[in-house]
């Protein structure tokens, strides 16, 4: 058995009568790039929100790094080592670029309120180290020289990168990327693809992403999971998933005959 980092066991999330995620099982091994795809409204982001603690699934369990994280608060889950980005970029827009990254380091800085007021040598040392690390992260994300700009003033592509840099500042084991290339042109998408690979190779991260860009998904993923109507409908290597008739049906629509049959069952 390979080294499992994330083991989601049959979780279910309901909103009133709507079941957004239904009995989804998902395993991610350490060092993988895993992708989650599916048509709009398939429950992908809800699934992410369950993993990061925004929602608590009614059923099932989520085991991360050997321990269950189901029911933990978001900040506790972040401390366990899961960081994420958002589909619609959610930066702290009124703070500078470097401050955004420093917020990401919050859990690694130990300064107490009293220490902050007295500016103890320990606090200064921590701050200096944190700033150094933040600058290094900004360099890594291709944001060198932009540290003192307001995050809200960055160009779109840079905002995406900053969001990732901020997530990296947590020093996570698992990085969840929610549509990292949304709104990007093909060239930017290619760059992002290279960047995601570098994340895995240079930072030893496990990456789990939601993505609509099939070219990107199929070329960088080790494992692809497909969701539709809240269910997992297929899983496997990119090649396997691409050939799976269920996936083709979900994406391209069913033939007239199949559709008729489906209507009959509904």
């Amino acid at each position: 058995m390979a080294d499992l980092l994330l083991d989601v066991q049959k979780i279910q999330k309901r909103f009133g009568g709507l079941i957004a995620v239904r009995d989804v099982d998902l395993q991610i091994e350490r060092g993988m790039i895993a992708s989650l795809i599916g048509p709009n409204g398939a429950g992908k982001t809800t699934f992410f929100n369950c993993v990061t603690g925004f929602y608590v699934p009614e059923e099932g369990d989520i085991v991360f790094n050997g321990r269950s994280i189901r029911g933990l608060r978001t900040d506790q889950i972040a401390q366990r080592g899961i960081a994420r980005t958002y589909q619609n970029i959610r930066l702290f827009k009124d703070m500078t670029v470097i401050e955004n990254v420093l917020v990401g380091m919050h859990i690694h800085i130990r300064t107490s309120p009293l220490g902050a007021v007295l500016r103890t040598p320990q606090m200064r040392r921590e701050e200096a180290v944190a700033i150094d690390r933040a600058l290094e992260l900004l360099d890594f994300a291709g944001l060198q020289g932009k540290g003192d700009l307001l995050a809200g003033n960055l160009a779109y592509g840079f905002q995406r990168r900053l969001e990732i840099a901020r997530a990296l500042a947590l020093e996570p084991l698992l990085l969840l990327l929610d549509e990292p290339t949304a709104g990007m042109n093909p060239q930017e998408t290619d760059e992002m693809m290279g960047f995601i690979r570098r994340l895995r190779d240079e930072r030893d991260l496990t990456i789990f992403l939601i993505e609509h860009d099939m070219k990107l998904v199929m070329s960088i993923s080790d494992q692809v999971t497909v969701m539709d109507y809240g269910r997992k409908i297929s899983e496997g290597t990119p090649a396997h998933v691409q050939r799976d008739p269920v996936v083709i049906e979900a994406y391209l629509g069913s033939s007239v005959m199949q559709k008729g049959a489906k209507d009959g069952t509904a």
Partner: protein, 730 residues
């Protein structure tokens, strides 16, 4: 020629003017003179309002003279005609039946009958003798009063037409200068005792001398300091010689107009005695000028904000001196052998014109100098920057420490009030500005601080161990629980902080409007509790807690003479000063640490902040606690300074005031809070007569600031963390 808003804007302004008129603003303002015998506040207000109307109407047409003229005429005429309509209506029916404050309304009073006349023999002097009040008794027949009003409107339109063609920068400068000139003229009654003109000119000149000489000096910290210092001392030496040769006597060169200069007088008068030592005051005089010269020389290389603030401060001193001129002048004066006759009103006009031009000049030149200073500052190595900052800090502290010696009781009192609201503003800023928790019940913590002090420092059921102090003889001795101010002070702060956090617990999940409403409730509950008769033994119900002992600094065990009771506004000033500095220091340090970042992250996006590992409950509770602690500090100092606290001082108005000053000053910015409380608290104190319109002007100011600068007048500047790092490495 016209644009789509040609009629709309004047109409809006008209509505405002009509409402203000009906509430009697002109009748109130008429009795307040801006320039003695020449200009009343009513005229200024009217001019300002129809001027604004003309300006906004004509602005889109800028560059086309005829269109601008037509539009600004429309802009002034619509509101003016509306006013005339009200006057006519008022003569036909009794409007005071509905609008009780509307009285004596006639076009003459609106322009105060004065704006157009100059002194005897002037072009428009015939108008002076017309008695407008009689004219409108037969409406429709004699309309001279209306003619005058229309003439005034046209004059305003003419001014706007010229004004609009200045560049944007100059328009701002002129407008702000005009506004400040009016404010200074209005406040001159309170401000003119601070500094005499010769003193002011002397201080300013020495400062400027140091400043401009340093332009040509190489960038050595010590060279600058020493040359500025020696320049100041040389000037001082020259002044000492002059003064000792009679320059301060009546008619002397330095006496000028007005009373005997206080600072300059140090150069002849008496000695300063410490123990057996007696030092001539002239030595101090020379040292003071030396320090000022050095300050001027160093300011050249200060960080931009410090540089600008210092320059405007120096200008402020000069203006204070000018304000004194004309208050206690003598009718005949001989300067350098020329006999000059001054009349009070003329001096007033001259003074206003000088102030206006000085302000214009300063606002034009300071930004230019400031760019220069910043370049120098950035060239300097970081170690020297720290030294420079330290020197500035030391000098500003010195200024703040000796300030009450010049301010007098009334101004110190105003200052203390500003300081009180600054403390609370800094505190509330933690909640609202940093953590984004809208608290409308801030007064609760303020009240808790004040009442804790009142209870702990007075004999009552708590401090007397359950006994009723009224039944005890010699309660002060028997009640062992009674504390001094200094013992009670930390307890007030801690107790406020703890209650603040406890109040925070149930509302942690609430955001925005909901939180605001719940906290509003807290404020009211606190007010009801301290008012309630059930708690009379402790809180005193409606009669409050009176005769709270004032803080005493008792160091007699070191020296017999070291005993001070902080019982008037100039001495309690130091307590306020210390508290402001303390609050600013703590909040500044917190805001620039991971805690401040966590607050701001929570404000920006609570969910994302939590996903970054930030513990929401702790972070928010800390904000509640810190914020309440400073409200408690403010309350304790307030209680000690007024020596009597009553439930009426702790109403929702306090919360609203503090919140407004944060919003106007700039959320999350400490200088913004200081500026905000100066504008919202200090200004109304100096312009006491406008008290009735205080809330109205608050509202107007809030709307204007929200429209023009939603982030506040002095928004926080983002820290330059990345750059700082580069400098250290590079």
């Amino acid at each position: 020629m016209f644009h789509k808003n040609t009629l709309r804007y004047p109409f809006y302004v008209t509505v405002v003017i009509v409402i203000l008129t009906l509430t009697g603003i002109f009748s109130t303002f008429e009795s307040r003179e801006v320039l003695e015998d020449y200009l009343t506040l009513a005229t200024v207000t009217l001019g300002l309002m129809i001027g604004v109307s003309a300006y906004v109407t004509a602005l889109p047409m800028r560059g086309r003279l005829i269109a601008v003229s037509v539009n600004s005429l429309i802009g002034v005429l619509i509101p003016t005609l509306a006013l005339i309509l009200i006057v006519v209506l008022d003569t036909r029916t009794d409007l005071t039946f509905v609008f009780q404050r509307l009285k004596d309304l006639n076009p003459g009073t609106l322009t105060s009958g004065k704006i157009v006349y100059l002194d005897g023999g002037g072009l428009l002097s015939p108008l002076r003798d017309l008695n407008f009040a009689d004219w409108i008794t037969v409406p429709g027949v004699q309309l001279q009063g209306f003619a005058l009003l229309l003439l005034f409107a046209v004059v305003v339109a003419g001014f706007v037409i010229v004004y609009i063609h200045f560049s944007r920068q100059w328009r701002t400068i002129i407008f702000i200068s005009l506004l400040l000139t009016v404010v200074l003229s209005l406040a001159s009654g309170q401000l003119d005792r601070i500094l005499t003109l010769p003193d002011a000119v002397m201080l300013f000149t020495v400062f400027a001398l140091g400043y401009f000489v340093a332009f040509y000096l190489p960038e050595s910290l010590w060279l600058r300091t020493i040359s500025g210092f020696s320049l100041g001392m040389i000037s001082a030496g020259a002044l000492v010689l002059l003064v000792n040769n009679g320059a301060l006597d009546a008619g002397g060169v330095l006496r000028g107009i007005g009373s005997v200069p206080r600072i300059l007088q140090m150069s002849i008068n008496g000695d300063f005695i410490v123990g057996d030592l007696s030092i001539p005051l002239s030595v101090f005089f020379i040292l003071i000028l030396g320090v000022i010269g050095a300050f001027g020389a160093l300011i050249n290389r200060a960080p931009r904000s410090v540089h600008d603030a210092s320059l405007y401060f120096a200008l402020g001193l000069l203006l204070l001196g000018i304000l004194q001129w004309g208050d206690r002048f003598r009718v005949n004066d001989t300067i350098l052998g020329v006999e000059i006759i001054w009349n009070r009103p003329e001096v007033g006009i001259l003074r206003a014109i000088i102030i206006f031009f000085l302000l214009c000049m300063a606002m034009w030149i300071v930004p230019r100098l400031s760019i220069r200073a910043e370049k120098t500052f950035l060239r300097v190595v970081p170690v020297q920057r720290h030294q420079t900052q330290f020197i500035f800090f030391a000098i500003s502290m010195l200024v703040l420490l000796i300030a009450p010696q010049f301010m007098g009781l009334y101004i110190s009192n105003v200052f203390n009030l500003i300081a009180l609201y600054t403390i609370m503003g800094i505190g509330l800023n933690v909640m609202v500005g940093y953590a984004g928790l809208l608290d409308l019940g801030y007064v609760a913590s303020f009240a808790i601080g004040a009442y804790t002090l009142g209870i702990l420092t007075k004999p009552n059921i708590l401090t007397c161990g359950g006994a009723d102090p009224a039944t005890l003889e010699n309660a002060l001795q028997t009640c062992t629980g009674v504390m001094t101010f200094w013992q009670a002070w930390p307890i007030c702060v801690v107790f406020s902080a703890v209650t603040g956090m406890l109040l925070g617990v149930p509302v942690l999940r609430l955001r925005g409007d909901y939180l605001a409403i719940v906290t509003l409730g807290f404020g009211e509950i606190t007010n009801r509790i301290i008012k309630a008769d059930d708690f009379k033994p402790l809180f005193g119900a409606a009669s409050g807690i009176t005769r709270i002992p004032s803080p005493v600094i008792d160091l007699t065990r070191f020296d017999e003479g070291w005993y001070a009771q902080l019982n008037n506004s100039t001495s309690i000033y130091y307590l306020f000063l210390f508290s402001v500095l303390f609050a600013a220091f703590v909040v500044y340090r917190l805001a620039n640490s991971r805690i401040g970042r966590a607050w701001r992250a929570v404000k920006a996006d609570e969910n994302v902040a939590q996903a970054m590992g930030i513990h929401l409950v702790n972070t928010k509770l800390l904000a509640f606690g810190v914020s309440s602690a400073f409200a408690g500090l403010g309350g304790a100092v307030f209680g000690a300074s007024v020596q009597g606290i009553f439930p009426d001082s702790f109403t929702i108005l306090v919360s609203i005031n503090v919140l407004s000053l944060i919003i106007i000053g700039g959320m999350g910015s400490i200088p913004g809070v200081v500026l905000g409380s100066m504008i919202l608290i200090g200004l109304p104190e100096l312009l006491r007569e406008l008290d009735d319109y205080r809330l109205l002007s608050f509202g107007v100011l809030l709307v204007v600031v929200m429209l023009i600068k939603p982030e506040g007048i002095l928004p926080p500047s983002p820290p330059k963390l990345a750059e700082k790092e580069q400098v250290i490495h590079g």
